[in-house]
Amino acid sequence: MPKLPVLLASLLFATSARAVLPIPDADNGGLILPPGFHALVVADKLKPLRGMTVAPNGDIYVKTREAGIYGLRDTDGDGRADLVKEFGSGGGTGIALRGEWLYHSTDDHVFRYKLTPGELVPAGPPERIVRDLPNRHQHSAKVFAFGADGQLYVGTGSPSNAYGGKKDRALGATGEDPTEFLKTYGGYWRYDPGKLEQTQADGYHFSTGHRHSTTIALNPVSQQLFIAIHGRDQLSTVAPQFYNDDDNAENPAEVFHVLTDGANFGWPFTYYDPRRHLRLLNPEFGGDGKKLAEPGKFPEPLIAFPAHMSPMQLAFYTGTQFPAKYLNGAFLAFQGSWNRAPKPQKGYQVVFIPFNAQNMPTGDYETFADNFAGKKVIASPGDATHRPHGVAVGPDGSLYISDFQAGRVWRIIYTDQ
């Protein structure tokens, strides 16, 4: 039997086009949203959650860091998942739907499950598309997206901070030649999404020179792939003679780029200063907080976000539920920093990135969903109540957000009220 609020809602909004929207939570699930937006908690207290995707029928699939994949279904139309099924294993981060296939990645492999129409949980075992990717624990998430060519673009991070040798991340870290290392780490590789058991050697090495990118999505209009990259840590640990706590908290930028064939994003030699809008040499490679990188050698970021905020999933907004300005812009979840200490941490929010008439970001962004941490001043990530990680757009244009900290899933709706 439908719950009372659903009955009330259908009576109240019987003639309205928005009658299908659920009743939001009175406290918006703890979030602060722009006027007219509301939130409800779809599921709560699941395992720590990573990437997310929503099927055309509204079923939600969300990765867990260490365990299986959750399938979440709302069977009575109140917006809350009353069917919560966990399947598979291996943890990981990446997830995407393509036709009847549910693709997902662990830190080592990319798999796909065949979905049965109407069934939340896949019936058979997964097929392995890419196997045994390089994984040395640090920066091991293997995010992926499908390009305009239908091919699978899979990221492999660099298990390193700034390639500072044995002293990487410690006082006096000294850069080493990364040429060999970058042949297997720190880039995107392209694979055939229909071919089983590929290795990295079977992939096409598409881009290089990144530390760790956990953000990749296809612009629905221009059909270009966009990525964000996590900047390096610990400038003031490695080279306190050049960087103080403030320099470290505010450097380097988390950068946003278009992903093009052969692109080199400048790691480990350089970093981008978001306040001065300059590309500088890393101290491991002769930098001193002032020395600029060779001009024009590496692409300028399209957006230079504040340091250490940790950009996770990116989702272009393709729905019509939200006001027109959101259409074909993108939402990006920032899981929140740890390396701004002893300054307060930053991030812990979902931002909206407007795209212009040329389908490129304008360079600006605005906070969309905030207060995940549940407090104004965050000393340490452990103090945050929630940390947003996944974002996905549902078939009716609702935005879904997943939580890496306490396993919550929110649905954001727009009611104009």
């Binding site: 044995k166 006096g172 000294t174 003679q241 706590d245 002769g286 990530p381």
Partner: protein, 167 residues
């Protein structure tokens, strides 16, 4: 080693020497403010009567060398760096395992023993007395049962001379 690397090392050594000043009368002052001016001075010439005295020096070293990863409250960062509150490694009365970890970082751990995504960087740029101070502080503050017995520079020298983990 290239000339450039040697020059860089010499520069770092010179800078480190500049940063080392005579200890100011900070005993009753507030906890040390962040780097670089308030880094504790070279401790090697000093002796400490009590673990408390040694740990006082260790607090600033903890802020500069450990808190960036393990956070000021020792609580760590989920999946990246462990909480060290009550950690078995530091709660063991024998400090040798802990000292090996400080000196050589997570490279001393077996691949299978690594449970966190990040690597712990070796902290062997610290002197034996500095490591004794920070280890004493950490054991006093974060061990399951506070350990008052100080870690000595001699303990650190033993760990430094041994290539891997204690037997």
């Amino acid at each position: 080693m290239t000339v450039r690397v040697l020059a860089l090392l010499a520069l770092l050594a010179a800078l480190a020497a500049c940063a080392r000043r005579e200890p100011a009368a900070t005993a009753s002052a507030k906890p040390a403010a962040p780097l670089p001016d308030d880094l504790p001075s070279d401790l090697s010439a000093k002796t400490f009567a009590t673990a408390e005295a040694l740990a006082k020096e260790g607090a600033a070293l903890f802020t500069q060398n450990c808190a960036t990863c393990h956070m000021a409250d020792g609580g760590g960062v989920p999946y990246l760096q462990p909480s060290i509150k009550g950690s078995a490694g530091i709660s063991n009365p024998d400090p040798q395992l802990f000292l090996s970890l400080i000196l050589r970082g997570s490279a001393v751990l077996d691949e299978g023993a690594k449970a966190y995504e990040n690597d712990m960087a070796p902290q062997d740029h610290l002197s034996d007395t500095e490591i004794a101070a920070v280890a004493t502080y950490v054991r006093q503050r974060f061990a399951a049962q506070p350990i008052t017995k100080p870690v000595t520079p001699a303990d650190v020298a033993i760990a430094r001379a041994r290539p891997g983990l204690p037997p």
